[in-house]
Amino acid sequence: MKKAQEHTAPKKYGMVIDLDKCTGCGACMAACMAENNVPFREDETDKNLSITWLRVYKLTNGKKFPNADVCYLPRPCMHCEGHHGHSPCVSVCPATATDYSYDTGIVSQIYTRCFGCRYCMAACPYHVRYFNWWDPVWPEGMEKMLSPNVSVRTRGVVEKCSFCFHRYQIAMEKVRYEGRAELAEDEYQTACTQACPANAITFGDLNNHDHAVYKLKTHPDAFRLLERLGTNPKVYYISSREWVRRQGDNYLENEGKVVAKAH
């Protein structure tokens, strides 16, 4: 059994989000918050102070009525691989509170290690990292819905999407217990993927030919956010609309149509 584990190929968990299907309904956000014990406050309208591990951005095409168009873009942590695990945030953390796992490709965050210098937040161009400016407070009785799978964070530390890593751990425990070598695709899915009522999110091992994400990431309309910065993110997006794909990255004026690259 131990041997089988050692031969388990390294995984690279990632996500493909179909923006054509995404309705911007926000169910993924709520599912994420409920799954991960995300705190809430009375006024959450300043989005720069609001903790939403998965934030759904609204993109507009900038055209006039009635040619205006909007598109929603859910943005979890990109779990950047950078060059060989050199993701923008991991290398800057002074206290090794965030780490890139070569086994899963997941960028972790150790809340009890973090002392809140926020350097990782400055490093991340996707704003996936959130600082606990306040002590989390649950109105009396509501702490009953807190899940024991995810530790509650305290004031002064940074938190972010973990691709529901605790689900991976729970699934792996089962796999080990049953003496199996590999985790099946549906045994480990993130809360947002599971909740998405539009089936817009697909999650799996980008290295595994049998997983849906493996094929989807090569979709002709697939792209990643800010790819040219070298972050090498593991979240892919699909949009049939050129203007949406173009907003996935920065382009100089003379640069032509955005055609997706094969990965």
Partner: protein, 756 residues
């Protein structure tokens, strides 16, 4: 002196060195890291045994299956139930955050009686016996004073055992004033009544349609059973099907649609009829369906020999694309191409009912859109509209009536839903306030029972509704939460929440198969609450007589079990009863109209033929005083029904919707420029019925002269996470009675906007 100083220094240095070498600093440092990780005020969720309970969500009429994850006795997460026929594992944002209602800060924890002024928030907790006795005594008093009709009742859903118990109570008690929350379902039901001759609700085989034209329906914004529509939408994308959205504003559905037809607000029916014009003119309609299964397409004659124009004549005489273009603002060539694509599709489907469908809407619009479906034969076939019989499993014998009940039931309804004016409509909740305030029924309303509804928030023209409430001496709320209506009540008999009670959930709106769900206690009741059915039966029994006799069941659960009969076991086991092999009725049984055929609407009305079928639905206000048109818009992230946003949902309200406590009104930049308003500026929004402070948000998603506000904001009685934020758009709008159904058909209201 020197020596003393030296020894002091030696002591100091020695002490410092000693302390540094001792375990103390290391221990302290270690403790520090532990302290800072476990502050006593940061909860540590206890671990325990994990279990999963399947149930049905009843937060909206969607009827999704849910799987609740539990740790010991705590519910920690709600997920969509995999394999459920409605939502297959998906869940909406409200459903996913439902535990925040269960464990939320605004639960009513025990029966309460008002002690301060109404709405002052001063309550005393009383026992259930006292509460039941208080209600029974008051109701008995009104009844014995000869005014049983002066008691009204509002419920949220129309079908199922609990609404039926209330209806039964009102009958036995002797009041005609039983009302249910109105929505597009009611308009569709009347449409099917008139055009199919069936007491049915529509089922949409949306997933199998290949060319969908939605007349303002928020297909991905909560219309129908929301998650089911999301799944259908995803399927359309996968299979390259087409969605065309006809709507004045760039809603999410419009943005996701393959084509957004920006129509002038309120003119959707004209566009539908103009499409019919093209389809008829170009002979593109389903000739076999129209010839064999439809009536009143051609001009027709009634039994007395009087001739009426058929649908064809009606449409061809006034709805040419050129004419329609002037009204709708849609280019004639677009109307033509849209009609051709629609008629040319294999499985076209037209949908109706704006946004989430919370406003019943104009009946002529529903009938126009349904006529489009009829023209292309999209009736009772895959990918089309199916007429599904209304849930009929509640088959209790009629209650025995005493003299008082019989007399009371003879009286006219307060909401005007009877008599000659609106013969097709059961109740008109939007007409209630006007009826009370004008005293049109000829008697006063002395008491009101409210269950599963929040009329003080959801009904339009809040001032009139409030006035009506203020005039009613005794308001009983059965709400689980301190919502706006409960806050104004005199007595609260709190119901269990949907996660604590057993209750039948009849077919979700729009599902094209008959389904009964069963929600069940996921966790034991958290507080001293009671299933509303039991509360009601308790009141009835306390009153005794024929009212008490009408409720022979031992308990609500016994009633439920008896009502469900053979289905009980399956419902207990699976939580759902599905007729999976259900197929729409064959043409022989499909239509129960006088002609036994599909009735195009000129032949549909069996009363009031003189009504102007295609009159434009006028909204309140004059253009001279109110140059703009305000339309409400719905969003999945804003619960706009009786239940308000949860804290998680409030977190997701977008930055262009709300900032701190101010709501943004969407304004076209050109309109804003003409009013000298800039992005983010505070403005005063005035309508004929109210005014509010708003902030301006420039949006190219809305045309000139039209402004839009979101629904679901402006709560005042709820938890601090949503109360006091933004404006309740229902407060700024007034209901407009549809000439045929009498239901609220207001799609907007005239407004003006000025710098504040």
């Amino acid at each position: 002196m020197n020596i003393a100083r030296r020894s002091f220094l030696a002591f100091l240095i020695g002490g410092a060195a000693g302390t540094a070498l001792s375990p103390l600093p290391w221990k302290l440092t270690d403790d520090l890291s532990i302290w800072t990780q476990t502050w006593p005020w940061t909860p540590v969720p206890p671990d325990g045994e994990y279990s999963y309970v399947n149930s049905v969500c009843t937060l909206c009429p969607g009827g999704c299956g849910i799987t609740v994850r539990k740790v010991d006795n705590r519910a920690v997460k709600i997920e969509g139930m995999a394999g459920h026929p409605v939502n297959d594992g998906g869940i909406c944002i409200l459903g996913a955050s439902g535990l925040q209602l269960l464990y939320g800060p605004r639960r009513v924890k025990a029966p309460m009686r008002r002690v301060g002024e109404r709405g002052e928030g001063k309550w005393e907790t009383i026992s259930w016996d006292e509460a039941i006795a208080a209600a029974a005594e008051k109701l008995e008093g009104i009844r014995s004073a000869g005014n049983p009709q002066g008691v009204a009742c509002m419920v949220g859903d129309r079908y199922g055992t609990v609404p039926s118990l209330f209806e039964r109570f009102m009958t036995a008690y002797g009041s005609p004033n039983f009302m249910s929350d109105a929505a597009i379902e009611d308009s569709y039901r009347i449409t099917l009544n008139l055009m199919h001759g069936k007491n049915a609700i529509p089922g949409f085989d949306a997933g199998n349609a290949d060319f969908v034209v939605s007349f303002g329906s928020g297909v991905i914004e909560g219309w129908g059973s929301p998650v089911r529509m999301f799944l259908a939408h995803g399927k359309w994308k996968d299979e390259n099907k087409t969605l065309v959205q006809v709507e004045p504003r760039l809603s999410n559905t419009a943005a996701k649609a393959d084509k957004w037809v920006a129509v002038q607000p309120g003119t959707e029916a004209v566009l539908a009829l103009s499409m019919a014009y093209v389809i008829i003119k170009e002979n593109l309609y389903d000739k076999s369906f129209v010839a064999e299964n439809a009536a009143a397409f051609e001009d027709w004659r009634d039994d007395e020999g009087k001739t009426y124009p058929g649908f064809k004549t009606f449409v061809l005489n006034g709805f040419s694309p050129a004419d329609a273009s002037k009204v709708t603002g849609v280019d004639p060539s677009l109307i033509v191409s849209l009609a051709r694509s629609f008629a040319g599709a294999e499985k076209p489907l037209a949908l109706c009912g704006r946004g989430k469908g919370n406003t019943p809407g104009s009946l002529h619009e529903f009938m126009a859109v349904h006529a489009l479906n009829g023209l292309v034969g999209a009736i009772n076939r895959p990918g089309g509209v199916w007429a599904i019989d209304v849930p009929d499993y509640v088959t209790w014998p009629k209650p025995g009536l005493d003299e008082a009940a019989r007399a009371g039931l003879e009286k006219p309804r307060v909401d005007g839903a009877d008599g000659g004016a609106y013969p097709y409509t059961e109740s008109i909740i939007s007409g209630f306030a006007d009826g009370v305030n004008s005293g049109s029924a000829g008697y006063g309303v002395e008491a009101l029972l409210v269950s599963g509804a929040n009329p003080l928030y959801t009904l339009r023209d809040a001032q009139a509704v409030r006035k009506a409430f203020d005039s009613i001496g005794f308001v009983v709320s059965f709400s689980s939460y301190m919502d706006e209506t409960a806050a104004q009540a005199d007595l609260i008999l709190p119901n269990h929440t949907y996660l604590e009670r057993r209750q039948d959930v009849p077919a979700p709106f729009g599902l094209n198969m008959p389904v009964i769900g069963m929600s069940r206690p996921v966790v034991p009741p958290q507080f001293d609450t009671r299933q509303v059915g039991d509360s009601l039966m308790g009141i009835a029994r306390k009153m005794g007589g024929s009212v008490g006799d009408a409720f022979g069941w031992e308990s609500y659960e016994a009633c439920l079990k008896e009502t469900m009969g053979a289905a009980w076991e399956t419902l207990e086991k699976d939580g759902i009863l599905v007729k999976a092999d259900y197929a729409p009725e064959g043409w022989g049984e499909a239509f129960n109209t006088p002609s036994k055929k599909f009735q195009f609407f000129t032949g549909a009305y069996r009363h009031g033929e003189n009504k102007d079928l295609m009159s434009q639905m006028k909204i309140e206000g004059e253009a001279a005083d109110f140059p703009l048109i305000l339309i409400p818009y719905d969003s999945m992230r804003l619960a706009s029904g009786p239940v308000a946003d949860t804290p998680f949902m409030a977190k997701t309200i977008e930055e262009d919707v709300l900032i701190h406590d101010d709501v943004y009104v969407q304004v076209n930049p050109a309109t804003a420029a003409s009013l000298n308003l800039r992005e983010g500026k505070v403005a005063e929004l005035t309508t004929p019925v109210g005014k509010a402070r708003v902030r301006v948000h420039l949006s190219e998603g809305i045309g000139e002269g039209v402004i839009a506000l979101p629904t679901g904001l402006g709560h005042w009685a709820n938890s601090k996470y949503i109360a006091g934020k933004g404006v309740n758009v229902n407060r700024l709008m007034s209901p407009v009675a549809d000439p045929v159904s009498g239901l609220d058909a207001a799609w907007g209201i005239r407004a003006k906007l000025a710098r504040a």
